[in-house]
Amino acid sequence: DQVLHVVPETFQQVQHLQQLCSTLLLDLWKPQLFEDIWAGEDLHIRVPAPLVQEVKDSLDQHMISYKVLIPDVQKLVDQSMPRERSSHRQVPDGYVYTQYHPMEAIYQWMTQIQKNNSELVTQHYLGKTIENRTMYYLQISQPSDKTKKIIWMDCGIHAREWISPAFCQWFVKEILHNYKSDPKISRFLQNLDLYILPVLNIDGYIYSWEKDRLWRKNRSPYMNGTCYGTDLNRNFNSSWGSIGVSYNCSSEIFCGSGPESEPETRAVAQLIERKKSDILCYLTIHSYGQYILTPYGSTTKPPSNSEELMHVAKQAAAALMGKYGTSYEVGSTSLILYSNSGSSRDWAHTIGIPFSYTFELRDKGTYGFILPPDQIQPTCEETM
Protein backbone atom coordinates (compact mmCIF):
# COMPACT_ATOMS: atom_id res chain seq x y z
CA ASP A 1 0.00 0.00 0.00
CA GLN A 2 1.23 3.46 -0.77
CA VAL A 3 0.21 6.94 0.28
CA LEU A 4 0.31 9.44 -2.56
CA HIS A 5 0.62 13.20 -2.23
CA VAL A 6 -1.30 14.90 -5.02
CA VAL A 7 -1.97 18.56 -5.71
CA PRO A 8 -4.64 19.00 -8.38
CA GLU A 9 -4.19 22.13 -10.44
CA THR A 10 -7.44 22.45 -12.31
CA PHE A 11 -11.11 21.86 -11.71
CA GLN A 12 -11.08 18.97 -14.21
CA GLN A 13 -8.30 17.34 -12.21
CA VAL A 14 -10.26 17.76 -9.00
CA GLN A 15 -13.26 16.11 -10.63
CA HIS A 16 -11.14 13.27 -11.93
CA LEU A 17 -9.64 12.68 -8.51
CA GLN A 18 -13.01 12.73 -6.83
CA GLN A 19 -14.27 10.18 -9.33
CA LEU A 20 -11.18 8.00 -8.87
CA CYS A 21 -11.46 8.03 -5.09
CA SER A 22 -15.12 7.18 -5.02
CA THR A 23 -15.01 4.52 -7.75
CA LEU A 24 -12.04 2.71 -6.29
CA LEU A 25 -13.03 3.41 -2.68
CA LEU A 26 -9.63 4.90 -1.93
CA ASP A 27 -8.72 5.83 1.61
CA LEU A 28 -8.51 9.62 1.78
CA TRP A 29 -6.13 10.71 4.52
CA LYS A 30 -6.31 14.38 3.69
CA PRO A 31 -8.77 16.00 3.44
CA GLN A 32 -11.36 13.92 5.31
CA LEU A 33 -14.06 14.18 2.70
CA PHE A 34 -14.13 14.00 -1.17
CA GLU A 35 -16.17 17.17 -1.16
CA ASP A 36 -13.28 19.02 0.40
CA ILE A 37 -10.86 18.39 -2.46
CA TRP A 38 -9.87 21.74 -3.99
CA ALA A 39 -7.52 22.81 -6.70
CA GLY A 40 -4.19 23.90 -5.22
CA GLU A 41 -4.76 22.03 -1.97
CA ASP A 42 -2.77 19.02 -0.76
CA LEU A 43 -4.27 15.56 -1.11
CA HIS A 44 -3.02 12.47 0.70
CA ILE A 45 -4.50 9.22 -0.57
CA ARG A 46 -3.74 5.71 0.63
CA VAL A 47 -3.90 3.31 -2.32
CA PRO A 48 -4.09 -0.45 -1.72
CA ALA A 49 -1.16 -2.33 -3.26
CA PRO A 50 -3.06 -4.04 -6.13
CA LEU A 51 -4.41 -0.67 -7.30
CA VAL A 52 -1.22 1.35 -7.07
CA GLN A 53 -0.16 1.01 -10.70
CA GLU A 54 -3.63 1.63 -12.05
CA VAL A 55 -4.05 4.79 -10.02
CA LYS A 56 -0.63 6.09 -11.04
CA ASP A 57 -1.36 5.41 -14.70
CA SER A 58 -4.61 7.24 -14.41
CA LEU A 59 -2.90 10.23 -12.81
CA ASP A 60 -0.25 10.17 -15.54
CA GLN A 61 -2.79 10.14 -18.29
CA HIS A 62 -4.50 13.18 -16.85
CA MET A 63 -1.16 14.95 -16.36
CA ILE A 64 -1.70 15.08 -12.62
CA SER A 65 1.63 15.02 -10.85
CA TYR A 66 2.07 13.17 -7.61
CA LYS A 67 4.69 12.16 -5.08
CA VAL A 68 4.85 8.96 -3.11
CA LEU A 69 4.58 10.12 0.48
CA ILE A 70 4.72 6.66 2.01
CA PRO A 71 6.10 3.94 -0.27
CA ASP A 72 5.18 1.08 1.99
CA VAL A 73 2.55 1.59 4.63
CA GLN A 74 3.09 -1.81 6.22
CA LYS A 75 6.80 -1.15 6.59
CA LEU A 76 6.06 2.10 8.38
CA VAL A 77 3.66 0.31 10.66
CA ASP A 78 6.28 -2.33 11.40
CA GLN A 79 8.93 0.28 12.02
CA SER A 80 6.83 2.04 14.55
CA MET A 81 6.97 -1.18 16.55
CA PRO A 82 10.21 -1.92 18.36
CA ARG A 83 11.89 -4.32 15.95
CA GLU A 84 15.14 -4.49 14.05
CA ARG A 85 15.15 -2.83 10.60
CA SER A 86 16.39 -4.93 7.75
CA SER A 87 18.98 -3.37 5.52
CA HIS A 88 17.65 -2.74 2.06
CA ARG A 89 19.27 -2.44 -1.32
CA GLN A 90 19.10 0.97 -2.84
CA VAL A 91 19.89 0.30 -6.46
CA PRO A 92 18.66 -2.50 -8.68
CA ASP A 93 20.42 -5.81 -8.42
CA GLY A 94 22.56 -6.75 -11.29
CA TYR A 95 21.97 -3.78 -13.60
CA VAL A 96 25.15 -3.43 -15.57
CA TYR A 97 25.94 0.25 -16.00
CA THR A 98 28.97 -0.50 -18.14
CA GLN A 99 26.90 -1.91 -20.98
CA TYR A 100 24.54 -0.34 -23.45
CA HIS A 101 20.89 -1.24 -22.86
CA PRO A 102 17.88 -1.42 -25.18
CA MET A 103 14.82 0.70 -24.43
CA GLU A 104 12.83 -2.14 -22.84
CA ALA A 105 15.56 -2.57 -20.24
CA ILE A 106 15.72 1.17 -19.60
CA TYR A 107 11.95 1.32 -18.97
CA GLN A 108 12.30 -1.50 -16.48
CA TRP A 109 15.31 0.18 -14.91
CA MET A 110 13.32 3.37 -14.31
CA THR A 111 10.56 1.45 -12.57
CA GLN A 112 13.08 -0.40 -10.41
CA ILE A 113 14.98 2.77 -9.53
CA GLN A 114 11.82 4.44 -8.32
CA LYS A 115 10.74 1.33 -6.45
CA ASN A 116 14.06 0.92 -4.66
CA ASN A 117 14.55 4.59 -3.89
CA SER A 118 11.03 5.83 -3.44
CA GLU A 119 11.96 8.25 -0.70
CA LEU A 120 13.95 10.22 -3.24
CA VAL A 121 12.84 9.27 -6.73
CA THR A 122 9.57 9.66 -8.57
CA GLN A 123 8.91 8.71 -12.16
CA HIS A 124 6.86 11.24 -14.09
CA TYR A 125 4.95 11.12 -17.33
CA LEU A 126 6.30 13.61 -19.87
CA GLY A 127 4.42 12.81 -23.06
CA LYS A 128 4.24 10.44 -26.01
CA THR A 129 6.50 9.93 -28.98
CA ILE A 130 5.33 9.97 -32.58
CA GLU A 131 5.10 6.18 -32.48
CA ASN A 132 3.03 6.51 -29.32
CA ARG A 133 5.62 5.37 -26.79
CA THR A 134 5.53 6.90 -23.35
CA MET A 135 8.23 9.33 -22.29
CA TYR A 136 9.14 9.40 -18.60
CA TYR A 137 11.56 11.48 -16.57
CA LEU A 138 12.89 10.80 -13.11
CA GLN A 139 12.70 13.40 -10.38
CA ILE A 140 15.32 13.10 -7.66
CA SER A 141 14.17 15.24 -4.80
CA GLN A 142 14.94 15.19 -1.13
CA PRO A 143 11.80 15.89 0.87
CA SER A 144 11.99 19.37 2.34
CA ASP A 145 9.71 22.23 3.21
CA LYS A 146 11.46 24.70 0.95
CA THR A 147 10.97 24.89 -2.82
CA LYS A 148 14.18 23.99 -4.53
CA LYS A 149 15.68 25.08 -7.80
CA ILE A 150 15.81 22.50 -10.55
CA ILE A 151 18.57 21.09 -12.69
CA TRP A 152 17.26 19.44 -15.86
CA MET A 153 19.28 16.92 -17.82
CA ASP A 154 18.16 15.08 -20.93
CA CYS A 155 20.00 12.34 -22.80
CA GLY A 156 19.49 10.59 -26.10
CA ILE A 157 17.97 13.36 -28.22
CA HIS A 158 19.97 11.85 -31.10
CA ALA A 159 19.42 8.14 -31.47
CA ARG A 160 22.92 7.00 -32.39
CA GLU A 161 24.65 8.71 -29.47
CA TRP A 162 24.38 5.70 -27.18
CA ILE A 163 26.92 6.92 -24.64
CA SER A 164 24.45 9.67 -23.76
CA PRO A 165 21.60 7.55 -22.27
CA ALA A 166 24.31 5.39 -20.71
CA PHE A 167 25.56 8.48 -18.93
CA CYS A 168 22.10 9.48 -17.65
CA GLN A 169 21.63 6.04 -16.14
CA TRP A 170 25.10 6.16 -14.63
CA PHE A 171 24.45 9.61 -13.20
CA VAL A 172 21.25 8.51 -11.48
CA LYS A 173 22.98 5.48 -10.05
CA GLU A 174 25.87 7.53 -8.69
CA ILE A 175 23.61 10.06 -7.01
CA LEU A 176 21.44 7.40 -5.40
CA HIS A 177 24.40 5.28 -4.32
CA ASN A 178 26.26 8.15 -2.71
CA TYR A 179 23.85 10.79 -1.51
CA LYS A 180 24.13 9.63 2.08
CA SER A 181 27.87 9.15 2.17
CA ASP A 182 29.11 11.92 -0.09
CA PRO A 183 28.83 15.35 1.54
CA LYS A 184 28.96 17.14 -1.83
CA ILE A 185 26.03 15.20 -3.22
CA SER A 186 24.02 15.43 -0.04
CA ARG A 187 24.47 19.20 0.07
CA PHE A 188 23.49 19.31 -3.59
CA LEU A 189 20.23 17.54 -2.91
CA GLN A 190 19.43 19.72 0.06
CA ASN A 191 19.27 22.70 -2.24
CA LEU A 192 18.41 21.32 -5.67
CA ASP A 193 16.04 18.92 -7.37
CA LEU A 194 17.26 16.86 -10.32
CA TYR A 195 15.05 16.07 -13.29
CA ILE A 196 16.58 13.41 -15.52
CA LEU A 197 15.21 12.29 -18.90
CA PRO A 198 17.24 9.17 -19.75
CA VAL A 199 16.05 8.85 -23.36
CA LEU A 200 14.36 11.73 -25.16
CA ASN A 201 14.20 10.25 -28.65
CA ILE A 202 12.83 6.83 -27.72
CA ASP A 203 11.61 5.79 -31.18
CA GLY A 204 14.93 6.76 -32.74
CA TYR A 205 16.89 4.93 -30.06
CA ILE A 206 14.92 1.75 -30.63
CA TYR A 207 15.39 2.14 -34.38
CA SER A 208 19.15 2.41 -33.89
CA TRP A 209 19.07 -0.86 -31.98
CA GLU A 210 16.87 -2.74 -34.43
CA LYS A 211 17.45 -1.33 -37.87
CA ASP A 212 20.15 1.30 -38.34
CA ARG A 213 22.84 1.86 -35.75
CA LEU A 214 23.68 5.31 -37.13
CA TRP A 215 20.13 6.72 -37.16
CA ARG A 216 19.96 10.23 -35.67
CA LYS A 217 16.50 11.71 -35.94
CA ASN A 218 13.09 10.73 -34.62
CA ARG A 219 10.74 8.49 -36.64
CA SER A 220 8.19 11.00 -37.82
CA PRO A 221 6.80 10.06 -41.25
CA TYR A 222 6.84 12.70 -43.98
CA MET A 223 5.95 12.74 -47.66
CA ASN A 224 3.36 10.03 -47.36
CA GLY A 225 5.67 7.75 -45.41
CA THR A 226 8.46 7.81 -47.99
CA CYS A 227 10.80 9.73 -45.74
CA TYR A 228 11.30 9.62 -41.98
CA GLY A 229 12.68 11.69 -39.19
CA THR A 230 13.11 15.22 -37.89
CA ASP A 231 16.32 16.25 -36.15
CA LEU A 232 14.85 17.02 -32.74
CA ASN A 233 17.76 19.30 -31.96
CA ARG A 234 16.77 21.56 -34.84
CA ASN A 235 13.10 21.51 -33.98
CA PHE A 236 12.94 23.81 -30.95
CA ASN A 237 11.58 27.31 -31.15
CA SER A 238 14.86 29.23 -31.16
CA SER A 239 15.45 30.97 -34.50
CA TRP A 240 13.84 27.86 -35.95
CA GLY A 241 14.70 27.07 -39.55
CA SER A 242 17.10 29.94 -40.01
CA ILE A 243 20.58 28.41 -40.31
CA GLY A 244 22.38 25.10 -40.16
CA VAL A 245 19.29 23.10 -41.10
CA SER A 246 17.69 21.47 -44.08
CA TYR A 247 14.07 21.72 -45.17
CA ASN A 248 14.41 18.39 -46.84
CA CYS A 249 13.24 15.33 -44.93
CA SER A 250 16.01 13.19 -46.36
CA SER A 251 18.63 15.26 -44.56
CA GLU A 252 20.00 14.38 -41.15
CA ILE A 253 19.43 17.96 -40.04
CA PHE A 254 15.85 18.29 -41.25
CA CYS A 255 14.23 20.77 -38.90
CA GLY A 256 10.68 19.48 -39.19
CA SER A 257 7.59 21.13 -40.61
CA GLY A 258 7.64 23.94 -38.06
CA PRO A 259 9.01 24.81 -34.61
CA GLU A 260 7.93 22.13 -32.11
CA SER A 261 6.30 20.13 -34.91
CA GLU A 262 7.37 16.91 -33.19
CA PRO A 263 5.57 15.48 -30.14
CA GLU A 264 8.87 14.72 -28.43
CA THR A 265 9.93 18.36 -28.72
CA ARG A 266 6.57 19.57 -27.44
CA ALA A 267 6.62 17.20 -24.48
CA VAL A 268 9.97 18.54 -23.30
CA ALA A 269 9.21 22.17 -24.12
CA GLN A 270 5.89 22.12 -22.31
CA LEU A 271 7.35 20.84 -19.09
CA ILE A 272 10.34 23.16 -19.13
CA GLU A 273 8.13 26.12 -19.98
CA ARG A 274 5.87 25.25 -17.06
CA LYS A 275 8.76 25.00 -14.59
CA LYS A 276 11.07 27.57 -16.08
CA SER A 277 11.05 29.97 -13.17
CA ASP A 278 12.53 27.24 -10.98
CA ILE A 279 15.00 25.77 -13.46
CA LEU A 280 18.52 26.94 -12.79
CA CYS A 281 20.35 24.82 -15.29
CA TYR A 282 19.49 23.03 -18.53
CA LEU A 283 21.85 20.26 -19.63
CA THR A 284 21.53 18.24 -22.80
CA ILE A 285 23.92 15.34 -23.40
CA HIS A 286 25.22 14.34 -26.86
CA SER A 287 28.20 12.70 -28.44
CA TYR A 288 30.76 12.93 -29.88
CA GLY A 289 33.44 15.58 -29.94
CA GLN A 290 34.37 16.37 -26.35
CA TYR A 291 32.85 19.83 -26.10
CA ILE A 292 30.97 21.85 -23.55
CA LEU A 293 28.90 24.15 -25.74
CA THR A 294 27.25 27.39 -24.69
CA PRO A 295 24.54 29.35 -26.52
CA TYR A 296 24.06 30.26 -29.32
CA GLY A 297 24.27 28.22 -32.47
CA SER A 298 22.25 30.58 -34.62
CA THR A 299 24.30 33.70 -34.02
CA THR A 300 27.77 34.61 -32.83
CA LYS A 301 26.32 37.38 -30.68
CA PRO A 302 27.08 36.25 -27.13
CA PRO A 303 24.29 35.64 -24.60
CA SER A 304 23.72 38.19 -21.83
CA ASN A 305 25.47 36.15 -19.16
CA SER A 306 28.21 34.91 -21.42
CA GLU A 307 31.06 35.53 -18.99
CA GLU A 308 29.46 33.55 -16.22
CA LEU A 309 28.45 30.77 -18.61
CA MET A 310 32.00 30.43 -19.86
CA HIS A 311 33.51 30.59 -16.41
CA VAL A 312 31.38 27.73 -15.11
CA ALA A 313 31.96 25.69 -18.26
CA LYS A 314 35.71 26.13 -18.05
CA GLN A 315 35.69 24.94 -14.47
CA ALA A 316 33.67 21.92 -15.54
CA ALA A 317 36.13 21.12 -18.31
CA ALA A 318 39.04 21.42 -15.90
CA ALA A 319 37.39 19.11 -13.40
CA LEU A 320 36.65 16.65 -16.18
CA MET A 321 40.23 16.69 -17.36
CA GLY A 322 41.45 16.12 -13.83
CA LYS A 323 40.02 12.62 -13.85
CA TYR A 324 41.61 10.92 -16.87
CA GLY A 325 43.23 13.74 -18.78
CA THR A 326 40.42 13.94 -21.32
CA SER A 327 40.34 17.38 -22.86
CA TYR A 328 37.09 19.16 -23.62
CA GLU A 329 36.81 22.32 -25.66
CA VAL A 330 34.56 25.03 -24.28
CA GLY A 331 32.74 27.73 -26.18
CA SER A 332 29.68 28.77 -28.12
CA THR A 333 28.47 26.39 -30.79
CA SER A 334 28.51 29.02 -33.53
CA LEU A 335 32.14 29.85 -32.81
CA ILE A 336 33.75 26.49 -32.20
CA LEU A 337 31.55 24.02 -34.01
CA TYR A 338 29.06 25.07 -36.65
CA SER A 339 25.97 27.17 -37.04
CA ASN A 340 22.62 25.69 -36.19
CA SER A 341 19.19 26.86 -35.18
CA GLY A 342 16.35 25.28 -33.27
CA SER A 343 18.53 23.62 -30.67
CA SER A 344 17.08 22.77 -27.28
CA ARG A 345 19.95 24.44 -25.49
CA ASP A 346 19.46 27.75 -27.28
CA TRP A 347 15.72 27.61 -26.65
CA ALA A 348 16.18 26.94 -22.94
CA HIS A 349 18.42 29.97 -22.61
CA THR A 350 16.08 32.20 -24.63
CA ILE A 351 13.16 31.48 -22.31
CA GLY A 352 15.22 32.52 -19.36
CA ILE A 353 17.13 29.55 -18.01
CA PRO A 354 20.46 31.10 -17.09
CA PHE A 355 22.78 28.09 -17.38
CA SER A 356 22.24 26.11 -20.53
CA TYR A 357 24.85 23.72 -21.90
CA THR A 358 25.28 20.99 -24.47
CA PHE A 359 27.78 18.32 -23.54
CA GLU A 360 29.36 16.38 -26.39
CA LEU A 361 30.92 13.36 -24.70
CA ARG A 362 33.78 11.12 -25.88
CA ASP A 363 35.43 10.68 -28.20
CA LYS A 364 36.95 12.92 -30.83
CA GLY A 365 36.12 10.70 -33.77
CA THR A 366 38.24 7.61 -33.35
CA TYR A 367 35.16 5.54 -32.60
CA GLY A 368 32.66 8.36 -32.81
CA PHE A 369 29.12 7.22 -32.22
CA ILE A 370 30.09 3.59 -31.81
CA LEU A 371 32.04 4.06 -28.60
CA PRO A 372 33.30 0.77 -27.21
CA PRO A 373 31.61 -0.30 -23.96
CA ASP A 374 34.91 -0.30 -22.09
CA GLN A 375 34.82 3.48 -22.40
CA ILE A 376 31.42 3.82 -20.73
CA GLN A 377 32.84 3.78 -17.23
CA PRO A 378 35.70 6.26 -17.71
CA THR A 379 33.50 8.58 -19.78
CA CYS A 380 30.79 8.58 -17.14
CA GLU A 381 33.21 8.88 -14.24
CA GLU A 382 34.98 11.89 -15.67
CA THR A 383 31.75 13.56 -16.72
CA MET A 384 30.28 12.98 -13.28
Binding site: W209, R216, T226, S251, E252, Y338, G368, I370
Partner: protein, 174 residues
Protein backbone atom coordinates in the same frame (compact mmCIF):
# COMPACT_ATOMS: atom_id res chain seq x y z
CA UNK B 1 44.59 33.92 -47.67
CA UNK B 2 46.30 33.66 -51.04
CA UNK B 3 44.61 35.74 -53.69
CA UNK B 4 43.46 33.82 -56.69
CA UNK B 5 44.66 30.52 -55.28
CA UNK B 6 42.94 29.68 -52.04
CA UNK B 7 43.44 29.48 -48.27
CA UNK B 8 46.64 28.19 -46.73
CA UNK B 9 46.88 26.98 -43.16
CA UNK B 10 50.02 26.38 -41.10
CA UNK B 11 49.53 23.74 -38.47
CA UNK B 12 51.47 22.48 -35.51
CA UNK B 13 50.11 19.25 -34.22
CA UNK B 14 50.85 16.27 -32.07
CA UNK B 15 50.36 12.80 -33.46
CA UNK B 16 49.26 10.20 -30.95
CA UNK B 17 49.51 6.47 -31.38
CA UNK B 18 45.97 5.07 -31.19
CA UNK B 19 47.33 1.87 -29.71
CA UNK B 20 49.64 3.55 -27.19
CA UNK B 21 48.38 6.90 -25.91
CA UNK B 22 51.70 7.83 -24.31
CA UNK B 23 53.51 7.56 -27.60
CA UNK B 24 53.37 10.94 -29.30
CA UNK B 25 55.34 12.75 -31.95
CA UNK B 26 55.31 16.38 -33.05
CA UNK B 27 54.32 17.32 -36.56
CA UNK B 28 54.09 20.46 -38.64
CA UNK B 29 51.96 20.75 -41.75
CA UNK B 30 50.81 23.12 -44.43
CA UNK B 31 47.38 22.68 -45.97
CA UNK B 32 46.27 24.60 -49.04
CA UNK B 33 42.59 24.58 -49.90
CA UNK B 34 42.09 25.58 -53.51
CA UNK B 35 39.53 28.10 -54.62
CA UNK B 36 36.41 26.43 -55.87
CA UNK B 37 36.91 23.34 -53.75
CA UNK B 38 36.89 20.89 -56.63
CA UNK B 39 40.44 19.68 -56.17
CA UNK B 40 41.68 17.99 -53.03
CA UNK B 41 43.74 20.23 -50.72
CA UNK B 42 47.55 20.16 -51.01
CA UNK B 43 49.27 18.85 -47.93
CA UNK B 44 52.92 19.11 -46.93
CA UNK B 45 54.13 17.81 -43.62
CA UNK B 46 57.19 17.10 -41.53
CA UNK B 47 57.40 14.71 -38.61
CA UNK B 48 59.82 15.52 -35.83
CA UNK B 49 60.94 12.10 -34.76
CA UNK B 50 60.23 8.53 -35.68
CA UNK B 51 57.07 6.57 -35.97
CA UNK B 52 56.92 3.28 -34.16
CA UNK B 53 58.15 0.22 -35.95
CA UNK B 54 55.30 -2.24 -36.29
CA UNK B 55 57.07 -4.78 -38.49
CA UNK B 56 56.54 -7.76 -36.25
CA UNK B 57 52.81 -7.21 -35.87
CA UNK B 58 52.48 -6.40 -39.58
CA UNK B 59 54.11 -9.68 -40.53
CA UNK B 60 51.94 -11.73 -38.21
CA UNK B 61 48.81 -10.22 -39.74
CA UNK B 62 50.14 -10.60 -43.26
CA UNK B 63 50.98 -14.27 -42.83
CA UNK B 64 47.68 -15.02 -41.16
CA UNK B 65 45.69 -13.57 -44.06
CA UNK B 66 47.90 -15.09 -46.71
CA UNK B 67 47.37 -18.53 -45.23
CA UNK B 68 43.57 -18.30 -45.07
CA UNK B 69 41.87 -20.93 -47.20
CA UNK B 70 38.79 -18.86 -47.84
CA UNK B 71 38.83 -15.12 -48.44
CA UNK B 72 38.20 -13.05 -45.37
CA UNK B 73 34.69 -11.57 -45.19
CA UNK B 74 33.29 -9.49 -42.34
CA UNK B 75 30.56 -6.97 -41.54
CA UNK B 76 29.94 -4.19 -39.05
CA UNK B 77 33.29 -3.38 -37.55
CA UNK B 78 32.88 -2.25 -34.83
CA UNK B 79 29.57 -3.92 -34.10
CA UNK B 80 26.62 -1.97 -32.70
CA UNK B 81 27.95 -2.09 -29.17
CA UNK B 82 31.39 -0.90 -30.19
CA UNK B 83 33.24 -4.20 -30.03
CA UNK B 84 35.99 -5.25 -32.41
CA UNK B 85 37.27 -8.80 -32.15
CA UNK B 86 41.06 -9.16 -31.82
CA UNK B 87 41.32 -10.87 -35.24
CA UNK B 88 39.57 -7.94 -36.86
CA UNK B 89 41.65 -5.22 -35.19
CA UNK B 90 44.24 -5.06 -38.01
CA UNK B 91 41.46 -5.02 -40.62
CA UNK B 92 39.96 -2.10 -38.72
CA UNK B 93 43.28 -0.26 -38.53
CA UNK B 94 43.89 -0.78 -42.22
CA UNK B 95 40.49 0.75 -42.99
CA UNK B 96 41.34 3.73 -40.80
CA UNK B 97 44.51 4.44 -42.69
CA UNK B 98 42.89 3.96 -46.08
CA UNK B 99 39.88 6.10 -45.13
CA UNK B 100 42.35 8.88 -44.28
CA UNK B 101 43.24 9.02 -47.94
CA UNK B 102 39.61 9.08 -49.04
CA UNK B 103 38.86 11.80 -46.51
CA UNK B 104 41.81 13.87 -47.65
CA UNK B 105 40.76 13.63 -51.28
CA UNK B 106 37.24 14.79 -50.45
CA UNK B 107 37.79 17.45 -47.81
CA UNK B 108 37.06 21.15 -48.07
CA UNK B 109 37.21 23.92 -45.50
CA UNK B 110 33.60 23.12 -44.65
CA UNK B 111 33.78 19.41 -44.06
CA UNK B 112 34.87 17.31 -41.10
CA UNK B 113 34.93 13.62 -41.86
CA UNK B 114 35.47 10.65 -39.57
CA UNK B 115 35.31 6.94 -40.21
CA UNK B 116 32.12 5.79 -38.45
CA UNK B 117 32.07 2.08 -39.23
CA UNK B 118 33.17 -0.59 -41.67
CA UNK B 119 29.93 -1.86 -43.14
CA UNK B 120 31.49 -4.71 -45.06
CA UNK B 121 34.94 -5.95 -46.00
CA UNK B 122 35.84 -8.68 -48.44
CA UNK B 123 39.31 -9.90 -49.23
CA UNK B 124 40.17 -10.26 -52.91
CA UNK B 125 42.73 -13.00 -53.46
CA UNK B 126 45.71 -12.01 -55.55
CA UNK B 127 48.45 -13.97 -57.17
CA UNK B 128 51.14 -11.45 -56.29
CA UNK B 129 52.43 -10.67 -52.81
CA UNK B 130 49.93 -7.91 -52.05
CA UNK B 131 46.83 -8.22 -49.91
CA UNK B 132 43.70 -6.67 -51.39
CA UNK B 133 40.54 -5.74 -49.51
CA UNK B 134 37.31 -4.37 -50.88
CA UNK B 135 35.76 -2.17 -48.18
CA UNK B 136 32.41 -0.48 -47.87
CA UNK B 137 32.84 2.08 -45.12
CA UNK B 138 30.54 4.65 -43.56
CA UNK B 139 31.93 8.14 -43.21
CA UNK B 140 30.36 10.60 -40.81
CA UNK B 141 30.40 14.23 -41.93
CA UNK B 142 30.13 16.51 -38.89
CA UNK B 143 28.61 19.67 -40.41
CA UNK B 144 25.80 18.02 -42.33
CA UNK B 145 25.69 15.11 -39.86
CA UNK B 146 25.35 12.81 -42.86
CA UNK B 147 26.47 9.19 -42.95
CA UNK B 148 28.00 8.55 -46.36
CA UNK B 149 28.69 5.05 -47.63
CA UNK B 150 31.95 4.77 -49.56
CA UNK B 151 33.55 1.92 -51.41
CA UNK B 152 37.32 1.62 -51.44
CA UNK B 153 39.78 -0.94 -52.74
CA UNK B 154 42.85 -1.18 -50.55
CA UNK B 155 46.20 -2.73 -51.36
CA UNK B 156 48.82 -3.52 -48.70
CA UNK B 157 52.05 -5.31 -48.01
CA UNK B 158 54.23 -5.00 -44.89
CA UNK B 159 57.09 -3.46 -46.78
CA UNK B 160 54.97 -1.12 -48.85
CA UNK B 161 52.67 1.71 -47.92
CA UNK B 162 48.90 1.41 -48.00
CA UNK B 163 47.33 2.19 -51.37
CA UNK B 164 43.77 3.02 -52.25
CA UNK B 165 43.52 1.96 -55.86
CA UNK B 166 39.88 2.72 -56.34
CA UNK B 167 37.22 4.50 -54.37
CA UNK B 168 33.70 5.76 -55.01
CA UNK B 169 30.95 7.42 -53.06
CA UNK B 170 27.90 5.17 -52.76
CA UNK B 171 24.26 6.22 -52.79
CA UNK B 172 22.53 6.35 -49.41
CA UNK B 173 19.83 3.71 -49.55
CA UNK B 174 16.31 4.78 -48.57
Amino acid sequence: DIDGVGQKYHLELVLEDVLDKDSTVNCTAEVLYHLGNNIPPDVQFAIAGELKNAEAADNIFYNRIKSLEKELVAENIPDSRGNVSPEMEPVHLLAWVASGYVIWQNSTENTKFQLAQIKRVKQVKRRDEYLEFDYTILLHEMVSQEIIPWQMTVLWHPQHSVQVTQDSRQPKHA
